[in-house]
């Protein structure tokens, strides 16, 4: 009854869902790694990005995959300004304040979306959303395969930025030793905003990859953010590699749990892992013990 082919397909499906999780988690862990705050507005910003992609498609007829190239810089700017003009000044240097400011932002954004778009759940129908590829015995939908590829590319770009650009070096410096970086002449406020911008840009890409197969409503982003938190903890707070591998792992766990326990219980596995990691390896799989 349970053939390896079907198990293989379930794992493959999980990997592809996991890729999106990883991208959302990547933004979250980047912001945590540098700013040392948990960005509670992450889910709300993902929802904004989903709506932006929806409008791009419905009003301007821009395909979601093309919209990613447009929305990523746009959301980088949005994230930059948010940190520079709202979160930074409101925080007054206190990490606790940042936490509350992002939480407040999340409430504000969600309700603004609710006011403008109502609670309706919206979807788009793309002609190619149900195109399939055959990978061995598995039949795989095109948008999910595209998502997997796009996440790989995005991660690579992000890694290259961090590794080879002077901004990337500055981000790493600020993450390691804020005071030292400041003494070396790095504009910390600017780097904070750039990091927040990069994290938000990841969301824009994730939203564009999600839209062809997912729905949008003012609470849509929250489903991902709870999972993303789990991934960040699992991978090690602030670790990019951890977020990527953690995301893929969580995707597979969810898919297999959904398969064996039923669709409504698919997320049980995720949170079981979350609790186990907290108990047994609190610094995460790739995090450094402090």
């Amino acid at each position: 009854m349970l053939s390896p082919a079907i198990l293989f397909t379930a794992v493959l499906n999980g990997l592809m869902t996991g890729a999106i999780y990883a991208l959302v988690a990547l933004g979250l862990t980047l912001i945590y790694g540098v700013l040392h705050i948990i960005n509670f507005a992450h889910g709300a910003l993902l929802t904004v990005a989903l709506f932006a992609a929806l409008i791009a498609y419905q009003t301007f007829g821009i395909d979601p995959y093309l919209a990613a190239f447009l929305l990523a810089p746009l959301f980088f700017g949005l994230g930059y300004l948010l940190q520079r003009l709202v979160i930074g000044p409101a925080a007054r240097g206190e990490d606790r304040n940042i936490l509350l400011v992002t939480l407040g932002l999340a409430v504000l954004i969600e309700n603004a979306l609710l006011y403008v778009f109502r609670a309706d759940t919206r979807t788009i129908n793309l002609p190619y959303a149900f195109e399939v590829f055959e990978i061995g015995p598995a039949v795989v939908a095109l948008p999910r395969l595209a998502a997997l590829g796009a996440v790989a590319v995005t991660t690579l770009i992000l890694w290259a930025i961090m590794r080879y650009t002077s901004t990337g070096r500055a981000i790493r410096a600020v993450a390691k030793e804020k005071l030292g970086a400041q003494l070396a002449g790095i504009d910390v406020a600017h780097i904070y905003a750039v990091t927040f911008g990069l994290g938000t840009a990841c969301l824009a890409v994730a939203a564009c990859l999600l839209l062809p197969t997912y729905y949008v409503n003012p609470g849509a982003g929250n489903a991902f953010v709870l999972v993303a938190f789990t991934i960040v903890v699992l991978g090690g707070m602030g670790s990019l590699v951890g977020a990527l591998l953690g995301g893929l792992l969580i995707g597979v766990v969810e898919s297999l749990c959904g398969f064996f326990l039923g669709e409504s219980l698919g997320q049980i596995g995720i949170f079981t892992i979350f609790i186990l990691v907290l108990l047994l390896r609190p610094h995460g799989l790739f995090g450094e013990a402090t």
């Binding site: 009854m1 349970l2 053939s3 079907i6 397909t9 379930a10 499906n13 869902t17 309700n111 609710l114 006011y115 109502r118 609670a119 309706d120 759940t121 979807t123 129908n125 149900f130 399939v132 039949v139 939908a141 197969t213 997912y214 729905y215 898919s255 959904g258 398969f259 039923g262 669709e263 409504s264 698919g266």
Partner: protein, 405 residues
């Protein structure tokens, strides 16, 4: 989080309406004051598509009645529709009933979802306000002993029994090729209730249930469900979910090349929807459903279909059920020759109305339930929806098992 608000626009609308009524009563009375009828649907929120379709049907009936000279027993009084939006929640429905009562309606038609019908009719009962349920299938709607509540369409019990009888009949006619069943249902009252009923009754009728899979609404990924179906390879798949999930499940099954002997649904969210058939003809082909349906041999029903399609809309069951319910109510008001609520309730109780477009025969209410109301079986054949059972209304023969692609 839902915002329950009286915004500036609705406030202005209602005050303007009130002012108009106060300002011009003498003029209106001279022609027979209009009969106000509340038209209640969930036109926003999760059920908005169905709600809008229901409103369309009701409004078309109101227009038709007014164009034909209004209520003759009241000097040709026009029907004035007081539209309400239940916002896809029972509370929203209640609030609208209160507003409609204040506006002085003689009766209310609508509700759509079972939960909305249950609470809205209860609220209406407090004001002895006649309430005609358009769709709401939960049996308790008519078993609470509310004098004001009438359901024109069939309830859950009748639908499930018909669906099972017909499934057995179709299977036997084909030489009993199907023995195993898998049920995929959404996990709220409608889907879970149906799954429970099927789990109790299918084994008695000789079917083995391999697995029952629940999923939340909304769900945007049916790959795991499809894989499970593939693994178990049942003869028949029975989906019980709302439109979006139904479509997605059918399309995912098609994509994963899963071809059971039959897809058979009971009140399937999309199976007998022209929208589904037009947008995804390949996924819809051969799907069978037991659902509300118009009488295909009634010329009035076909004429209405043309009118609806001329408006660029799909002829879904919400449209013709609401159309019929408004006609039923207008007939009662005509016979009551009054806008008095008690008299209208009396007229509904004794209704024998047969001018509707449903395959129910003359109306006969017992404890508020129309006795002739029954669902029919449909099948998507050659990109159209055909009635396959009962034989009296059938426009095609069932194709079962599904031909192999």
């Amino acid at each position: 989080m839902s915002l329950n608000r009286l915004n500036r626009r609705t406030f202005l609308q209602s005050t303007a309406l009130g002012a108009a009524v106060i300002a011009a009563p003498s003029v209106l009375r001279a022609q027979g004051a209009p009969v106000k009828v509340g038209i209640l649907h969930p036109v926003s929120g999760a059920l908005s598509y169905s709600g809008q379709q229901g409103r369309l049907g009701a409004q078309m009936a109101v227009d038709a009645i007014n164009a034909a000279g209004g209520i003759k027993a009241l000097g040709g009084a026009k029907i004035e529709a007081i539209l309400g939006d239940a916002q896809s929640t029972p509370e929203g429905g209640n609030a609208e009933v209160e507003k409609m009562n204040s506006a002085g309606v003689s009766a209310i038609v609508g509700g759509y979802a079972s939960s909305i019908c249950l609470s809205a009719s209860q609220t209406a009962a407090r004001y002895d306000l006649p309430y005609v349920v358009d769709v709401g299938v939960v049996d308790s709607i008519v078993t609470r002993g509310l004098k004001n509540t009438f359901r024109f369409g069939p309830g859950f019990g009748v639908i499930a029994k018909t669906a099972l009888d017909n499934l057995v009949a179709i299977n036997e006619a084909a030489g009993k090729p199907a023995k195993t069943v898998m049920i995929v249902h959404e996990d709220s009252a409608f889907g879970a209730g149906l799954a429970k009923l099927l789990n109790a009754q299918l084994p008695e009728r000789g079917f083995q249930i391999l697995e029952t899979i629940a999923h939340p609404t909304p769900t945007r990924d049916f790959n795991n469900v499809a894989l499970k179906i593939k693994a178990q390879n049942p003869d028949i798949v029975i989906p019980a979910n709302y439109y979006n999930e139904y479509v997605l499940l059918a399309r995912t099954m098609q994509q994963q090349r899963i071809r059971p002997k039959g897809i058979y649904s009971v009140l399937g969210g999309a199976a007998s929807s022209y929208k589904f058939v037009k947008e995804f003809p390949d996924a819809a082909e051969y799907i069978m459903d037991c659902n509300h349906w118009f009488d295909p041999k009634n010329p009035k029903a076909q004429e209405l279909k043309k009118q609806v399609e001329a408006k660029g809309q799909f002829y879904t069951y919400e449209v013709y059920m609401n159309y019929s319910c408004v006609l039923l109510l207008a007939d009662a008001i005509e016979r009551a020759a009054s806008t008095d609520r008690a008299k209208i309730i009396g007229a509904l109780e004794s209704s024998t109305f047969s001018g509707h477009v449903m395959p129910y025969g003359p109306t006969k209410f017992v404890n508020g339930q129309n006795q002739g109301a029954a669902p029919v079986n449909t099948q998507v054949l050659k990109k159209d929806i055909e009635v396959i059972l009962p034989a009296a209304f059938a426009s095609a023969k069932a194709v079962f098992p599904m031909p192999r692609a």
